[in-house]
């Protein structure tokens, strides 16, 4: 099967720093690949190269069967790009934006108008189509941005941190739209800093660090490698902090981390619901008042630090409770 995106040994340097340093990627058609990594890992550089915006120094890049370096012009007819900030005209209406971008994709006047109507409907913007984008919510802007990226129904769509600065509702709206596109056969390369976003959308995840892929696999396989969820507890009285840490240690798979300033204690657990129930019951019996409790996935920071073999906890902000 021909891959929708192939990169081999892709390198890009800015002066002395390597933004990409032997980046290898293969994305099967009709799937979503999540590129995950901290700021500066090379995610955006990779997307910009594949979207023909940036020249690279070494290696090979193929998108939709076309060589990115030699056939950039033809690649541009097959891709859509949705960058970190909505690249639409705030002053113009959603419809005007779509028609102008449609004309720039060389649709005729009437087809560009027809396509604008179709896309406004498909992205749930039919009612707002005539209003200036300035009046749109963050989620609506992003959806319009996606719609522009879909004007020519690209074979490959690049989404560079598509839900940055969106509220949860906006993120959900964008995720729904992306799922629709993939159902229609588009291949998506998604960069994100949010593990849950990659988890929601991606068939496979590549974790990038310092311009190279340091881990790759399905979300489940990666999570299995990364260890379990975490319980965060906040107690009402600072004096109860040690007792809470002690209770949490009994259900945790690693030493809890205590943050005295926030009166918080946090630990990694395997059996999420079971551990949570047990520790809350025990604290209740001890007479410890819990001000707040959360069960959460490891953050990307924690995931990333573990993958790169560095300590999983930040020592500057927290104090480890002696065992």
């Amino acid at each position: 099967m021909e891959h929708a995106i192939i990169t081999q040994g892709l390198c890009k340097r800015y002066g002395d720093t390597a933004a990409l340093d032997g980046f290898d990627l293969r994305v099967p058609p009709g799937t979503v690949c999540g590129l995950l990594g901290p700021n500066g890992a090379g995610k955006t550089t990779a997307v910009r190269i594949l979207a023909t915006l940036l020249r690279f120094d070494a290696g090979r890049a193929v998108v939709a069967g076309l060589d990115v370096a030699r056939q950039a012009e033809r690649v541009r007819y097959r891709i859509g790009l949705v960058g970190q900030r909505p690249a639409v005209d705030e002053a113009l209406s959603g419809r005007e934006n779509l028609v102008i971008f449609g004309r720039l994709f060389h649709l005729g006047r009437a087809p560009a108008r027809r396509r604008a109507t179709e896309l406004l409907e498909r992205f749930g913007l039919a009612d707002a189509g005539g209003a200036p984008v300035r009046t749109y919510s963050g989620g609506m802007r992003r959806r319009l941005d996606l719609a522009v990226g879909m004007i020519r129904t690209p074979s490959v769509l690049f989404l560079d941190e598509p839900t940055t600065a969106l509220d949860p509702r906006g993120r959900n709206e964008v995720w729904e739209s992306v799922r629709d596109l993939v159902r229609a056969g588009t291949t998506v390369l998604l960069t994100t800093q949010y593990l849950d976003e990659a988890d929601q959308l991606a068939d496979r995840i590549c974790v990038l660090d310092a311009g190279r892929v340091v881990a790759e696999g399905t979300p489940d396989a990666l999570k299995a490698r990364l260890g379990g969820d975490r319980i965060d507890l906040v107690v009402r009285d600072a004096g109860d902090l040690a007792a809470a840490a002690d209770r949490l240690r009994r259900v945790a798979t690693a030493d809890p981390v205590v943050d005295p300033d926030r009166r918080a204690v946090s630990a990694q657990v395997d059996d999420r619901a079971g551990a949570l129930t047990e520790v809350l019951r025990a604290l209740d019996a001890d007479g410890v008042t819990v001000a707040d409790v959360a069960l959460r996935r490891p953050t990307l920071d924690e995931v990333f630090l573990r993958l790169t073999g560095r300590p999983a906890e930040r020592v500057d902000a927290t104090v480890r409770v002696p065992a």
Partner: protein
């Protein structure tokens, strides 16, 4: 989804077509938000009134003649210069908001976004010039040359604007946000005031007068004063005699330098 649109063979990128689409985009912007343009025109008119009535009384035209007659050709060129703020801001805003990246990721002819911008700004320059002509007539300025001379003068003014537009585009591509504002102002003020637009170079210290007479703006101002038959076009520097020729050569030189520079910068944006 419409299978027809998707299956239609991709049109070739067309410089003319893409440029016109982008000119229309700029016009659509102005239709939706005319405020900044109205503001720019009001500012131009204000400057005319300020120089005509506030400073004008204190300013002498060497060799005699009405200061307002002397002033207006300078004002015409000056508003063409101030117009590039608009150009630089628009180019820089597109780059900053990712619109430029999107255009570059699309099968759009490389020169089109720049040419589209230049065309739109030229349309606005024509409107600006028309408003300035009316303002000039209102404060007592007149063109005394024949219709041919007057048209030639207007042509030279717009030629200057076209050349400056490319300087503005280049500045917009190499700066961003607040940097763009600073860059434009750093260019506009010396270029505008170190010229023969408001005062005759003969009244300046010799070295400053020489700088002012070599200024591209002075070439256009000097040439148009002559074509309009307005006072003060002579000047005593030998270069002043060549102002009509320089009023054509300077803009052509700016275009020859800044169009390729801008295009190269646009192609290489982001490294």
């Amino acid at each position: 989804m419409s299978a027809a649109t998707v299956a239609s063979p991709p049109g070739r990128p067309s410089l003319a077509g893409d440029s016109l689409t982008l000119t229309c985009r700029a016009l659509a912007h102005w239709r939706r938000e005319p405020g900044p343009l109205a503001g720019a025109l009001a500012f131009d008119i204000l400057i005319v009134l300020m120089f005509a009535y506030l400073f004008g009384g204190a300013l002498q035209v060497p060799g005699g003649g009405s200061y307002r007659e002397f002033l207006m050709p300078g004002m015409f060129a000056m508003t063409m210069l101030f117009g590039i703020s608009q150009t630089t801001m628009a180019v820089s805003a597109d780059a900053e908001r990712g619109v430029t990246d999107r255009h570059r990721s699309m099968p759009v002819s490389r020169l089109a976004p720049l040419l589209g911008r230049a065309l739109a700004d030229m349309l606005f320059a024509v409107v600006t010039l028309a408003v300035m002509l009316l303002a000039g007539l209102a404060v007592g300025w007149r063109a005394h040359g024949g219709p041919g001379d007057t048209l030639a003068a207007l042509g030279l003014i717009l030629l200057l604007r076209f050349a400056l537009t490319w300087v503005g585009i280049y500045l917009g591509l190499v700066t961003n946000g607040a940097g763009a504002v600073t860059a434009v102002q750093t260019l506009e003020f010396p270029l505008g005031f170190l010229s023969s637009a408001f005062v005759a170079p003969s009244t300046m210290p010799a070295w400053l007068g020489a700088v002012a007479e070599w200024n591209p703006l002075s070439a256009t101002v000097g040439a148009t004063r002559e074509l309009f038959g307005n006072p003060g076009w002579g000047g005593e520097g030998w270069i002043a005699a060549y102002h009509p020729l320089l009023a054509v050569l300077w803009p052509l030189a700016l275009v020859a330098v800044f169009v390729p520079l801008s295009l190269r910068r646009y192609r290489a944006l982001g490294g």
